[in-house]
C-alpha cells in the first residue's frame, strides 16, 4: 500500500536555513545540509528546500547546498524558489535535486512547465501554488506570496496538470505560519479536481493538523516550523499518524 509522505521543508536564504512567519520576519537557524541529514535519518520521506527570497536575490548559494545535500541524503530532494527557466531546472537537477518546484514562472509562462516536463519527465516537475481565499474562491499569488494575480487556484491547478506537472504543492497563504492547521477546504477542493498527487502545505501546528491534511485527500503533508523548532520529531509524527490508522512508512 502506498504510504502518505511526511515532508519537512527547509526555507533557505543565502545558503542558511530560516523559517518565516507569513513569509516575513526571518530567523537564522542553521546549516541546511546538516538539517536535511537529520531529517532523512529520522525517517523523512522526502526533503524540501524552498529558496524563499530567491525571486529577488542572487541564488547561486542554493546550488552548493543542493549538491552537498544530495551526496548525504538518499531520499528524494525537492528544490524550489526562484526557478524561472528550463535551464534553472536543468542546473538544479544536475546538482542532485530529484524534483524542482516552480511557482512564479509557472504562472507567468506555463510553457516552462510544458517544456520542462517533456524534457526531464513529469516526475521531477512540481508546481507550487500559493493560494489565498478571496470571497468564495481562492486566488493564486506569486513572488513568495507578495503579488496577487486574480487567477483562480482551481482552474490553475487543472491547467498545470494538463501542462505536465507531476505533483502540486499547495500552500494556503492565509494559513502559512499561523500554526492553526491546513486550509482543509482548499486541499480537498484541489485534490478532488486533479488526478495528480497534492502536497498540502501551510499552517501545521499540531499532530492532528497533519492527520487532517491527509484526510483532506492530499498524498503528502509538508511542514516546516513544527520540525524546525523541534516541537515534534518525524518519528513522533509517524507514530501518531499510524495510531490514527493513517498509512505511513515506519
Amino acid at each position: 500500500m502506498l504510504k502518505n509522505r511526511i515532508i519537512p521543508c527547509l526555507d533557505v536564504k543565502n545558503g542558511r536555513v530560516v523559517k518565516g512567519i507569513n513569509f516575513v520576519d526571518l530567523q537564522d537557524a542553521g546549516d541546511p545540509v546538516e538539517q536535511a541529514k537529520i531529517y532523512s535519518d529520522g525517517g523523512a520521506d522526502e526533503i524540501c528546500f524552498l529558496d524563499i527570497t530567491a525571486s529577488n536575490e542572487n541564488r547561486d548559494t542554493i546550488y552548493d547546498v543542493v549538491e552537498r545535500t544530495s551526496k548525504n541524503c538518499f531520499v528524494p530532494l525537492t528544490v524550489g524558489g526562484g526557478v524561472r527557466t528550463v535551464e534553472d531546472i536543468n542546473k538544479l537537477l544536475n546538482c542532485g535535486a530529484d524534483k524542482v518546484s516552480i511557482n512564479t514562472a509557472a504562472v507567468q509562462n506555463s510553457k516552462v512547465v510544458e517544456e520542462s516536463s517533456k524534457k526531464f519527465g513529469s516526475q521531477c516537475i512540481v508546481v507550487a501554488i500559493d493560494a489565498k481565499k478571496n470571497g468564495e474562491r481562492w486566488e493564486i499569488f506569486t513572488h513568495g506570496g507578495r503579488n496577487s494575480t486574480g487567477i483562480n487556484a482551481i482552474e490553475f491547478a487543472n491547467k498545470m496538470e494538463k501542462c505536465g506537472a507531476g505533483e502540486l504543492l499547495v500552500t494556503s497563504m492565509d494559513k502559512d505560519g499561523t500554526q492553526s492547521g491546513y486550509d482543509i477546504e482548499l486541499m480537498t477542493t484541489i485534490s478532488s479536481n486533479v488526478n495528480i498527487p497534492v502536497i498540502a502545505s501551510g499552517g501545521v501546528g499540531t499532530l492532528d493538523h497533519l492527520a487532517e491534511g491527509i484526510k483532506s485527500g492530499a498524498s503528502a503533508v509538508l511542514a516546516a516550523s513544527i520540525f524546525h523548532y523541534g516541537t515534534y520529531s518525524i518519528t513522533e509524527v509517524k507514530q501518531y499518524l499510524a495510531s490514527k490508522d493513517i498509512p505511513v512508512r515506519i
Binding site: 500500500m1 502506498l2 504510504k3 502518505n4 520521506d45 544530495s70 513529469s122 516526475q123 498524498s219
Partner: protein, 208 residues
C-alpha cells in the same frame, strides 16, 4: 572492479551517481559515461532512465553503437546489468508512452500505463510503497520482505514470463516492480532514493 553508469542523456542521473559512489567508496570504480569501449570493458553496467519510455529509447538510439554495445554486454557476454525505472522498462519489446516504441527486446513483454481505475488512484504512483518479494533475487540479499521503496512512475512493465518477476507492489493493482533474468536485473522503484535499504540493493548489485 569497474561499474559503469550509462550516461545517455536520459534525464537526471545525479542521484544514481551519488548513491553508487556512496556505496562504492574507494573499493569500486564508478564510471559515468557513454563511451562504448569503457562500457565493454566494465564489469557491471547500470542503465538508469527518467522521463518517457520513448525519450529514453530515442536517447539510447542517438548514441551510435550504444544499443549494440549493451546487447553484447548483457545478452552475448551475460555480464550483470541493472536497469532502474525506465531503464528496466526498456528491457521490454515495446512501450506505449507517448507513442508505440520498440524497446531493447531483452525480455518479452509490454510497458503500459497503470490502470488508475477511472481516476480512483492518482498517477504518477509517487511515494514509498512496500515490495512483496515473490522470488529470491540476488539483489534482495538482506532485504526484508515488505520493505519500503521509493516509486515514481505512471507506466508498468509486465513481462510475458511471470517467473521473471522478483517483486510486486500493491497500488491500483499488483504492479511488477522488480525483475531478474539470469544476469539482467531491474527495479521499477528507485534504490538510489530509497534510503539505507535502497543503498543495500545497490551494494548487493555491486557485490554480485
Amino acid at each position: 572492479m569497474n561499474v559503469t553508469i550509462v550516461d545517455y542523456n536520459s534525464g537526471n542521473i545525479s542521484s544514481v551517481i551519488n548513491s553508487f559512489k556512496e556505496v562504492a567508496k574507494d573499493k569500486v570504480n564508478i564510471e559515468v559515461t557513454s563511451d562504448l569501449n569503457k562500457i565493454k570493458s566494465s564489469d557491471k553496467v547500470v542503465l538508469p532512465g527518467q522521463g518517457s519510455f520513448k525519450s529514453c529509447v530515442d536517447a539510447l538510439n542517438n548514441i551510435s553503437g550504444l544499443v549494440d554495445t549493451l546487447n553484447e554486454f548483457a545478452i552475448n557476454n551475460k555480464k550483470p546489468l541493472l536497469g532502474i525505472c525506465v531503464g528496466l522498462q526498456m528491457f521490454a519489446d515495446v512501450g506505449f508512452e507517448e507513442t508505440e516504441t520498440m524497446g531493447l527486446g531483452w525480455i518479452s513483454g509490454k510497458v503500459s500505463k497503470i490502470d488508475n481505475q477511472n481516476g480512483k488512484y492518482k498517477l504518477p504512483h509517487i511515494g514509498w510503497n512496500e515490495i512483496n518479494i515473490v522470488k529470491d533475487s540476488k539483489i534482495f540479499k538482506d532485504i526484508e520482505n515488505n520493505s519500503h521503496m521509493y516509486f515514481v512512475h505512471s507506466y508498468e512493465f509486465v513481462p510475458e514470463d511471470k517467473k521473471l518477476i522478483s517483486a510486486t507492489t500493491e497500488y491500483s493493482s499488483s504492479i511488477v516492480c522488480s525483475i531478474e533474468k539470469e544476469n539482467i536485473f531491474g527495479t521499477q522503484f528507485h534504490p538510489e532514493k530509497s534510503d539505507k535499504i535502497g543503498l543495500q540493493i545497490i551494494e548487493n548489485f555491486i557485490n554480485l
